[in-house]
Symmetry: C2
Subunit: 356 residues, 2 copies
């Protein structure tokens, strides 16, 4: 960051092309390296300190019978995070990544858990078939909880922030939000989540289509903030808030799977509604970790690409559909490696290697 001259796409490309390897031979790793040099404005980018934030909340819409697991599992899994036994804890430890779990709306008293950040807005979002999922105040509080995590990460010197979630029922909220943002029907946006029966799947589709009818036609203009408030969830809003603030801080943002991607899409849509500079910051900062096996993720990635450009091509494709930020954690070593390539590799000149 001490360099006087700005790092441009051209200068970053020249730098990577001077490294001892055939032109372009590191493929997508080179694209990442160039983006990191531009984002951090240095020819020696660093991805050393990394963190995954996992936002947890419950969903009123679970009352409609849309999930394979009972609502209690959100709290049980939050306790599992607290003890370090969940997939994200294990994968993060194996890759030297911090984990911060944030209760933004779990329907249980979790105040005694020492390893959880407590930022509960409400014990679960409201059932959006009966009323909007959040009031304006609740939405603002959830967005602020996410932004606060991103600022705390920036203050701790975190270079890359993965965004994950836990919340029984949240593939339903995410599918409804995706439908609202893209005006696509439930037939395209709804998947099996944690693995529901055909019967529950039919209910879930009907719920999302009903939500579209309830809130979809209020105005001709799509208002991303209002979509999030009406059919989103507290952890989806927190992810959106975290993504926007992390982008403002020029930190790398890594979207995880279906729910995280829909939340980041909503953040990009909010930025597009409100500020050219913020949308541009999102374009520079956001990476997509993996292609989820959840139906609807492809559409979410396409919609992200329309707003954020090429960055929406995910890095991994491992048939995963767990959430918790597990995909984001697995993508961290790729970002770390790309930064190291830009920062540490010898050039043809410095190594005395013949060019051709």
């Amino acid at each position: 960051m001490t360099d006087v001259t700005a790092v441009t796409r051209e200068s970053a490309q020249l730098a990577i092309d001077a490294k001892t390897k055939p032109l372009g031979a590191l493929g997508r790793l080179e694209e990442i390296a160039v983006r990191l040099a531009i984002l951090q404005q240095t020819p020696s980018p660093t991805i050393e300190r990394t963190r995954v934030c996992v936002f947890a909340a419950d969903h009123g819409v679970v009352d409609e019978g849309v999930s394979a697991y009972p609502r209690a599992v959100t709290a049980e899994m939050t306790r599992n995070f607290d003890r370090g036994g969940a997939a994200i804890n294990v994968i993060a430890r194996a890759n030297s990544i911090d984990v911060e779990v944030v209760d933004v709306g779990v329907d249980a008293e979790l105040g005694t858990l020492a390893n959880i950040r407590h930022a509960k807005v409400r014990r679960g979002s409201r059932n959006f078939l009966l009323e909007p999922a959040m009031t304006r105040e609740e939405l603002d509080a959830a967005l602020a909880a996410g932004a606060s995590s991103a600022r705390a990460a920036a203050d701790s010197g975190v270079h890359a922030l993965g965004l994950g979630e836990m919340g029984i029922g949240n593939t339903t909220s995410a599918a409804a939000l995706l439908s609202a943002l893209t005006r696509q029907s439930a037939a395209i946006t709804v998947g099996r989540g944690t693995g529901i029966t055909d019967e529950a799947m039919a209910r879930k589709r009907a719920v999302v289509d009903r939500a579209l009818q309830l809130y979809g036609n209020r105005s001709e203009e799509r208002d991303a903030r209002e979509c999030l408030r009406c059919v989103g969830g507290l952890e989806l809003a927190a992810i959106a808030g975290a993504a926007l603030e992390a982008a403002r801080q020029q930190m790398v943002v890594i979207a995880d799977g279906f729910i995280s991607t829909v939340s980041v899409l909503c953040a990009a849509a909010i930025a597009a509604d409100e500020s050219v500079e913020l949308l541009s910051a999102m374009r520079a900062a956001v990476f997509f970790a993996h292609r989820s096996a959840e139906c609807g993720h492809g559409l979410a990635l396409e919609a992200c690409q329309a707003l954020l450009g090429e960055s929406a091509r995910p890095l991994l494709d491992l048939d995963m559909r767990l959430g918790e930020g597990t995909g984001a954690a697995l993508a961290m070593p790729l970002l770390r490696s790309a930064a190291a390539v830009m920062r540490e590799m010898a050039t043809f000149a410095s190594a005395g290697v013949s060019r051709d």
Copy 2:
């Protein structure tokens, strides 16, 4: 390894299914976890100590004008490895992976390099348009050099061994070897390697087709060892030797890109020719790191799948075509994470999480 009862596919699958996540939600990471538990015969597999071996050698066939870079680059890049400035050094450091570079046939005096293992068989393989690339003694020596690296890794407690290479001209040798093993023409097996012109590409194809005529029809039976001797290279033979010995040692073997995959294919074909037990050990041990952008890699992977089964589906797809073991290094964190999932994740029972 202290468990008394054997770990079977069924017991490993039961163990992963008991973890706190929806069934199968970690996708390919679960497949890896199950394979690691079986290979290491423990429900708590470990991928902690990891190493990439990079075998370097020159190729007589470079005299035919098949490469974009002069032969001297093999020695220059070996010096670059020695100083830690090449892509594999940088990526390995970023992911806590050891690197061992082995000179099995570089056409230069490199005895003074302190960080290189010296196992030179000959200063480059012979031009296979004029004579077989190796004598029987040279082939045996190159196979033994690779086996020796694998044994040294096992003795050092390495859990996973990536196999990489450096050698100007070696995509030509690998394409010829792939053609010989699969009886496919150069039109399918030859690619642009480090980035050659159309003219050089035509020469390269002609060289491979000529090699097929010279050695391809000697006998009806395909003899993998003889294919390797006639049109392979010293570093390709070393990789094959390392893969066979690592499989014997029940160590994880990670094939890298085009050249490494063709060498591992040749090792699998040698095993298929010579020993049912050894082929079975290869099936258990070998993982494929990534889908290379080099033409011919798809065919090599298909041929591997025919011999080794499902394991031939690569883990990453990042448009890379550098070699050096860089893809293998990038796949290591996935294996490390999969082992950690099997070893450290809580179960529904231990975490008190409701199943459904």
